[in-house]
């Protein structure tokens, strides 16, 4: 089995079902399941190729795995493929998230339920912070990079300045710092 080269999905139906199964199982994050289904289970794409597509999609705006579905759908079946892969990915999670929200609406007057959900939300905020620290590892020895990150945090989170004002300034500063090799 290990020697069989990866092969793209043969039909739009296979593509749809593959992405449907990614969305259906993606508790606690889509990315691990995207890798598992496409690289390991269905063997649509080689691991290195997957990593490269993912890097592109992290670099582009938008939801990362959503972008993966667009890029790979296009590669295999053109525009229809993009549409099919993206809808497959989103279909079941969308239904579930609405169902959960409706359920919560019924119980949100209950203080205990509200406390639990608030706790989950705050923990989710904590996950963001933990993720950011993981991403920040390459910055450990780059004081200018840390200063730029802290600056962004200060004006956005504490100063409540709009992202649209901060991003251009930060991008220009980051660009020059990166050109000079200090980040």
């Amino acid at each position: 089995m290990e020697n069989v080269p990866p092969a793209p999905p043969k039909s739009l139906l296979e593509l749809y079902l593959g992405f449907l199964s990614i969305g259906a199982r993606s508790f606690g994050g889509v990315l691990p399941w995207a890798h598992r289904v496409m690289v390991e289970e269905r063997r649509w794409i080689a691991p290195a190729d997957f990593a490269e597509v993912l890097a592109l999609c992290q670099f582009l705006p938008g939801p990362n795995v959503g972008n993966v579905s667009i890029v790979l759908g296009r590669r295999w079946f053109g525009p229809v493929g993009s549409l099919v892969a993206f809808t497959g990915l989103m279909a079941l999670p969308l239904i579930w998230v609405f169902a959960l929200a409706l359920l919560y609406a019924d119980f949100s007057s209950n203080p205990a339920v509200r406390a639990v959900v608030t706790g989950v939300g705050i923990a989710g905020g904590g996950l963001f912070i933990g993720t950011a620290f993981k991403l920040a590892r390459p910055l450990a020895r780059k004081p200018w990079g840390i200063a730029l990150a802290l600056g962004c945090f200060g004006v956005i989170a504490l100063g409540r300045v709009s992202l649209f004002a901060v991003l251009p300034v930060a991008a220009v500063l980051g660009w020059f710092a990166a050109r000079k090799g200090v980040i």
Partner: protein, 169 residues
């Protein structure tokens, strides 16, 4: 609803790194500027999107749903995904050509500290729905440390947050 669509479409194009990067701006718009919901409600909506399986971009559908009903949900999700998807589609075709371009590597290095700052900001606004409170700081701090230092499934961290929320609030 048009307001949501227009604003989310703009956010779409700057969402390098996905939802976490634009989380502070989205919260600022929805809570501070438009007053569509309170900071507490915003964090709860986000919690629901986190607890459900699927990409966390679905939080946009819940915001739209809360503001303008189910149709609003689809519009918000479409507006947030559409422009970025169009860009991905277009760029995906040219990816091989720019793989080794020097400017791409410079840009990639430049984006790291910026997205780190944005994502920490997103975490901060989500973790302070009740203002700065020690209970929130405890839950967020433990969650962040658990994610950073262990390989435990994030779902358990969220469950722990729910338990601490029940005990502390």
């Amino acid at each position: 609803m048009l307001q949501i669509a227009g604003y989310f479409a703009m956010l779409s194009l700057v969402s390098v790194g996905g939802i976490p990067s634009v989380m502070p701006e989205m919260q600022r718009l929805v809570v501070d500027v438009q007053g569509w919901m309170s900071a507490a409600e915003y964090t709860q909506i986000f919690a629901i999107a986190q607890a459900a399986p699927g990409p966390n971009v679905l939080v946009t559908a819940l915001i739209g749903w809360k503001v303008a009903g189910v149709a609003g949900g689809f519009v918000a999700l479409g507006a947030f995904c559409g422009p970025a998807a169009a860009l991905s589609y277009w760029v995906g075709g040219y990816w091989d050509r720019m793989r080794d371009a020097a400017w791409r590597k410079v840009l990639q290095r430049a984006l790291v500290p910026i997205s780190v700052g944005f994502i920490v900001s997103g975490g901060y606004v989500l973790a302070t729905p009740l203002g700065v409170a020690w209970q929130s700081a405890l839950i967020a701090g433990v969650s962040a440390a658990a994610l950073y230092a262990t390989r435990v499934n994030p779902l358990w961290i969220l469950a722990g947050g729910g338990l601490l929320g029940f005990l502390l609030f």
